[in-house]
C-alpha cells in the first residue's frame, strides 16, 4: 500500500513540477497561450511515443537501444511510400508501417530469446541494422505525407458546447497521443499479458516458476515497443512532412524520461503516465530556454546535461535500492 502511495506520489509530484513550469513559462512570456501549447503538444508527440516504446521494454526488465533507429526507419518508409501517391493510399500506408514496427520489434525479442545474447547487445546490433535499412530506403531527407495525416495533428479539437477559449487548449496532437496510448495501454495493463510483463521484469525466475511464458511475454513486450516506435516514426513524418534517415536524439531522451517518470531501470515497476508527464516536463524546459532567448545550440547542451543528470540520478537510486 505504501508502495502504491509512493508511486502515485511520484507522478503527482511530476504533475506539480509540470504546473510550476507552466507558471514559469507564463512569467517569462506573458503572451504564452493556446497556440504555443498546441505546438508544444506537436513537439512532444514523437518523444512521447519513443518514451512509451522504451517504457514497455524497461518494465519487462530490458532496454531497447533501437528505438530511435526504428523511428527513423518507419518514418522514411512512410514518407517514401506516400511520396506522389494519392490521399487514399495513405490509409494503407499507416497500418502497413505500424505492422512493420510490430514485426521488427518482435524480431528484436525473438533474437534476444533465441540467441540468449543480452538485450543491450542485440538492440545495439539492430540499431546498426535499422539505421542502415533507413539509409537504404531514403539516403537523404525527403518524401511526402498525405494532407489528411498532417491535418490530424494540427489545429484543435472542436467540441460543441464548449467555449472557444477552452477549446483552444485541446490540440489535436494531444488527443491523438492520448487515444493511441490509451487504446493500447489500458487493455494491456488490465490483461493477463500486462501482468506477465510486470512479472518478468520484477523477477524472471519467480515469473517462470509461476508458469508465466517468459519467452513469449518478452517477445510481445519488444513487439509492442516496436509498435510504439512506429507510431513515433509516423508522428515524425506527420509533423515534419518528410522522412529523415538519421535518427534523432530520441534514445537518450526516452531513457531519461523513463527514469524521470518513476520507472525503475531494473524493471517491474512504474506505469506509462509518469514517463509521458516527464516528457512534457523535459520539453517545457526546452521551450523555456528558447523563450529566454538562449542560443539553440546552448539549449541542446543544457538539455543533454539535464538528461545525463537525470539518468545518473536514476542509476544512483537503483544502486541504493539494491544495497
Amino acid at each position: 500500500m505504501s508502495h502504491l502511495l509512493r508511486r502515485q506520489g511520484w507522478v503527482a509530484g511530476l504533475f506539480a513540477l509540470l504546473i510550476i513550469l507552466f507558471i514559469i513559462t507564463k512569467l517569462i512570456q506573458p503572451g504564452y497561450g493556446s497556440s504555443d501549447f498546441g505546438s508544444l503538444a506537436r513537439a512532444v508527440l514523437p518523444y512521447a511515443f519513443a518514451v512509451a516504446a522504451q517504457t514497455v521494454v524497461v518494465i519487462a526488465g530490458g532496454i531497447d537501444l533501437s528505438v530511435a533507429a526504428m523511428m527513423a526507419l518507419t518514418s522514411v518508409t512512410a514518407a517514401s511510400m506516400m511520396n506522389g501517391a494519392s490521399e487514399e493510399y495513405a490509409l494503407f500506408v499507416v497500418p502497413f508501417v505500424l505492422a512493420m514496427g510490430f514485426v521488427l520489434g518482435a524480431v528484436n525479442g525473438i533474437l534476444i530469446v533465441v540467441t540468449r545474447v543480452p538485450d543491450i547487445v542485440v538492440t545495439l546490433a539492430t540499431l546498426f541494422v535499422l539505421q542502415g535499412a533507413a539509409l537504404l530506403v531514403l539516403d537523404a531527407p525527403g518524401g511526402a505525407v498525405a494532407e489528411w495525416l498532417k491535418g490530424l495533428i494540427s489545429g484543435t479539437v472542436p467540441i460543441p458546447g464548449l467555449p472557444d477559449a477552452i477549446d483552444a487548449w485541446l490540440p489535436k496532437a494531444l488527443l491523438v497521443l492520448v487515444i493511441c496510448l490509451c487504446v493500447i495501454w489500458i487493455p494491456l495493463r488490465r490483461s493477463k499479458l500486462g501482468l506477465s510483463i510486470y512479472a518478468i521484469g520484477s523477477s524472471e525466475l519467480a515469473a517462470f516458476r509461476s508458469g508465466v511464458p517468459v519467452a513469449r511475454t518478452r517477445i510481445i513486450a519488444y513487439a509492442l515497443s516496436g509498435l510504439f516506435a512506429a507510431f513515433g516514426g509516423l508522428a515524425l513524418t506527420m509533423s515534419t512532412g518528410i522522412g529523415a534517415p538519421i535518427p534523432g536524439p530520441y534514445l537518450l531522451a526516452s531513457v531519461a524520461a523513463v527514469v524521470l517518470g518513476g520507472v525503475a531501470l531494473g524493471g517491474g515497476k512504474g506505469g506509462l503516465l509518469g514517463p509521458i508527464v516527464a516528457v512534457f516536463v523535459l520539453r517545457l524546459v526546452r521551450t523555456d530556454l528558447t523563450l529566454l532567448a538562449i542560443d539553440p545550440n546552448v539549449t541542446a547542451i543544457i538539455e543533454g546535461a539535464i538528461m545525463v543528470a537525470v539518468v545518473m540520478f536514476g542509476a544512483f537510486i537503483t544502486m541504493r535500492g539494491r544495497q
Binding site: V117, G132, L252
Partner: protein, 326 residues
C-alpha cells in the same frame, strides 16, 4: 590396452575449441580470404601502394577500436570516441591558425580529458550504463562543438604540416602513421597483459564483485580507464584530420560503429573479462578490407551498416555458444 581412452572428438567441436583457444588464426585466415576475393574481383589491385593505403585507413580505426577493447574488457563500451576525436581534430585545425602548435595541441586534448572524466565518474561512481552515459556525453560534446564553431567561423582552419605528414605520408613504402601506431599498440598490449592496471581491467570485467571485495577501488579503475580511452580517441582525431584533411563537425562519426565491430570481431567479449588488442588490430584490418570490397561491389552506406550490425550480433551469439559448451 585401453583403446576406449581415445574417444574421437567431433570435428565441429574440435574447430570450435581451436577457435576459442587461438582466436588469431581464424581471423588471419579470414583476412587473407578477403584479400584474395578482392584480388579476384579486381586483378592487380593488391600491390604495395594498396597495402600502404589500407594500413593508413586502418590505423585510426584500430586506435578507436582499442578504446572499445579496453572499455569492453570491463563490460563497458565507449560510444563518445567519435565525438571526442572530431572535437580534438576540429579544435586543433582551428586553433593552430593563431596559436603555437603546442598550445593548440593542449587545447585540443582538453575536451577529450574532460569528457573522459565525466564518462568515468558517471559509470564508475553513479553506475550509469556505459552505453547511455557515453551516448549522453557525446550529445553534449556535439552541442559544445557547434557553439564553438560559431566563434571560430571567421578565422578559418588549416591542417598542420606535421599532422598531414603523419596522416598521409609514406616513407620507403611504410605509412608514417605507423610511427605513432606501433609504439601505441605495443603500449596497449603491454599494459593489458603485463601491468597491474591491465590485470585490473580483466578482473573488473570478469567478476566485479569479487574484485571489489578484494580491495580494488572500482571507481578509480573505471575513471582512469575512460580518461585513457578519451585521450586515445583525441589522438586518433589528430591523426585522422591529417589523413582526411577536411575538418567537419561529423569527421570521425562514421568510425564509431566499425570500431565496436572491430573489437567484437577481434575476439573481445562485449560482456567483459575476455579479449585482447592484437585481435582487435586484425579486426580493424578486416573491416578496412571489407569496406574496400563493399565499395568495389558498389554497396551503399546503408548496406554497410546493416552488415556491421549483423557481424556484431552473430559474433557475439557464436561466442556465447563456444563459452557455454566448455
Amino acid at each position: 590396452m585401453s583403446t576406449t581412452a581415445i574417444t574421437p572428438v567431433p570435428f565441429g567441436r574440435r574447430v570450435k575449441r581451436f577457435m576459442a583457444d587461438r582466436p588469431l588464426i581464424p581471423l588471419i585466415i579470414l583476412l587473407v580470404i578477403l584479400v584474395v576475393i578482392l584480388q579476384i574481383l579486381r586483378p592487380g589491385i593488391v600491390n604495395e601502394r594498396w597495402i600502404a593505403n589500407t594500413i593508413k585507413f586502418a590505423i585510426p580505426l584500430a586506435i578507436l577500436a582499442g578504446c572499445q577493447t579496453m572499455t569492453m574488457l570491463t563490460g563497458g563500451i565507449d560510444l563518445s570516441v567519435g565525438t571526442v576525436a572530431t572535437m580534438s581534430a576540429f579544435i586543433m585545425a582551428t586553433q593552430v591558425v593563431n596559436q603555437d602548435p603546442a598550445v593548440a595541441f593542449l587545447l585540443a586534448m582538453m575536451p577529450a580529458v574532460l569528457i573522459g572524466l565525466v564518462n568515468g565518474i558517471g559509470v564508475g561512481v553513479f553506475r550509469v550504463h556505459p552505453l547511455i552515459m557515453t551516448l549522453g556525453t557525446s550529445l553534449i560534446g556535439t552541442g559544445c562543438l557547434q557553439v564553438y564553431q560559431r566563434t571560430v567561423i571567421a578565422s578559418g582552419a588549416k591542417i598542420p604540416d606535421f599532422l598531414a605528414w603523419l596522416g598521409t605520408g609514406v616513407t620507403y613504402g611504410f605509412p608514417n602513421a605507423l610511427l605513432l601506431f606501433v609504439p601505441l599498440a605495443a603500449l596497449i598490449v603491454f599494459t593489458l597483459s603485463r601491468t597491474g592496471f591491465g590485470r585490473l581491467l580483466y578482473a573488473v570485467g570478469d567478476n566485479e564483485r569479487a574484485t571489489r571485495l578484494s580491495g580494488v577501488q572500482y571507481w578509480q579503475v573505471i575513471t582512469a580507464l575512460y580518461v585513457i580511452s578519451s585521450v586515445l580517441a583525441g589522438i586518433t582525431g589528430l591523426l585522422y584530420i591529417g589523413l582526411i584533411k577536411a575538418p567537419s563537425l561529423s569527421l570521425a562519426e562514421p568510425l564509431v560503429l566499425p570500431s565496436v565491430a572491430a573489437a567484437v570481431i577481434g575476439g573481445t567479449s562485449i560482456f567483459g573479462g575476455r579479449g585482447g588488442y592484437t585481435g582487435t588490430i586484425i579486426g580493424a584490418l578486416i573491416l578496412t578490407v571489407l569496406t574496400t570490397l563493399l565499395t568495389i561491389l558498389q554497396m551503399p552506406e546503408g548496406a554497410r551498416r546493416i552488415l556491421f550490425g549483423l557481424i556484431v550480433l552473430f559474433v557475439t551469439a557464436a561466442y556465447l555458444r563456444i563459452v557455454e559448451e566448455r
